[in-house]
Amino acid sequence: MRKWLFLLGLVFVVSCSTIDCPVNNIVETRYRFYDTDGDSLVLADTLTITSVRKDGSEVVLNRKIGCATVPVPISYSHPEDVLVFNIYNSEYSIIDTVWVKKDDIPHFESVDCNASFFHTITDIRYTTNFIDSIVINNPKVDYDKTTIHFHIYPKVSD
């Protein structure tokens, strides 16, 4: 029995640990464009989005074209994000400003995983030069890459 006592002890001296952080750990919003019939719309013009920040502004989506869904970063803990949508082609350039209001929740997985924030979108406001309307489709912003948070309906050109 004493032999077993020490043998078992030796076995358990060798141990291992694992780090289980989520593979997809990007928290961002997704906007999908729709036409007036409610069908998904592929952008024919070029879209650039800039964030209005503490030290000026920075491009968060650069010259996107031919897409129906665009990912847009969301701030960690600022109560309201300000985004400038610039839609343009060789003939025109239109700017809309979007204000996204939200609640921010610190998210913790493990001490081995980077700190992150999840969010609940509470309100959205926008100017209506190019945008006709924006609807909150799903207010929960987390690691889920498949969630579409906003439906954007552009104005119909004459």
């Binding site: 029995m1 004493r2 077993w4 006592l5 078992l8 002890g9 358990f12 640990s17 289980d20 964030s51 920040r53 503490k54 030290d55 920075e58 968060v60 970063p73 701030s75 960690y76 803990s77 600022h78 994000d81 921010d104 929740i105 610190p106 998210h107 913790f108 997985e109 493990s110 001490v111 081995d112 995983c113 980077n114 700190a115 924030f117």
Partner: protein, 229 residues
């Protein structure tokens, strides 16, 4: 045509007989498992107290662990009702993620072990047992100087004094060897399974006092210094 009902009846009778036989055998085996060995040894054989060295060593050498002691009653050297009480602690600053995690709380387990050896009254024992465990604890999680990569705003990341609870079960296998007199040493290996826990907006807790780092299931080990009283 007339033989088929007789065959089916025979098969049914055989099946019922086998079922009854197996049920009786299982019941007899169960009764034998739970019945005390008949001999001249009294039912109450005393107490033992123990202290776990693995948890204490883990706490001394790393940033989490526990101090744990146990009181075990010896019933006829066969059954051992046990209460384990401990203080689990974690105080970690991760160098990479710069996350700080702190908790300190008591926990307890109650359960029973059975001596699985044929020679129940020998110097050594092989245990199998079950535990129910519970802890109620508070956690502080913080990340200093977190700056938003896109917006550059400072982002306060501070989860403070959040109350949590955790219920779990443990299946235990252990050995206990008499070294001299009332002094024993023993190992136990535990399979832990969470049965209920508090849920929070912020996600999971990391270290749970008595359970270890959070997961649905976990293997654990103790090395006990045991003294018979």
């Amino acid at each position: 045509m007339t033989r088929r009902p007789f065959i089916s009846i025979s098969i049914r009778r055989l099946a019922i007989s086998l079922l009854l036989l197996s049920a009786v055998t299982a019941t007899q085996a169960q009764m034998k498992f739970f019945t005390l060995q008949k001999d001249s040894i009294p039912l109450f054989r005393g107490f033992s107290v123990s202290f776990d060295l693995v948890g204490a060593a883990t706490l001394a050498l790393s940033d989490y662990g526990q101090y744990e002691g146990a009181l075990r009653i010896n019933l006829h050297d066969e059954w051992f009702p046990i209460v384990e009480v401990g203080l689990g602690k974690a105080n970690r600053d991760d160098e990479v993620t710069r996350l700080h995690y702190k908790t300190s709380a008591p926990y307890f387990r109650v359960g029973i072990d059975k001596n699985l050896l044929n020679n129940k009254h020998g110097k050594n024992r092989l245990y199998g047992g079950l535990r129910y465990a519970y802890t109620s604890y508070k956690v502080d999680i913080a990340r200093p100087e977190l700056s938003d990569p896109y917006w550059k705003w400072d982002a306060p990341y501070d989860i403070r004094d959040v109350s949590c609870y955790y219920h779990w079960l443990e299946a235990v296998v252990g050995i206990d060897a008499q070294i001299f007199g009332p002094f024993h040493l023993g190992w136990s290996v535990r399979y832990k399974r969470r049965i209920a826990h508090s849920k929070h907006d912020f996600g999971n807790t990391w270290y749970v006092p008595g359970f270890g780092t959070d997961d649905d299931t976990k293997l654990g080990v103790t090395f006990n210094v045991i003294i018979d009283i």
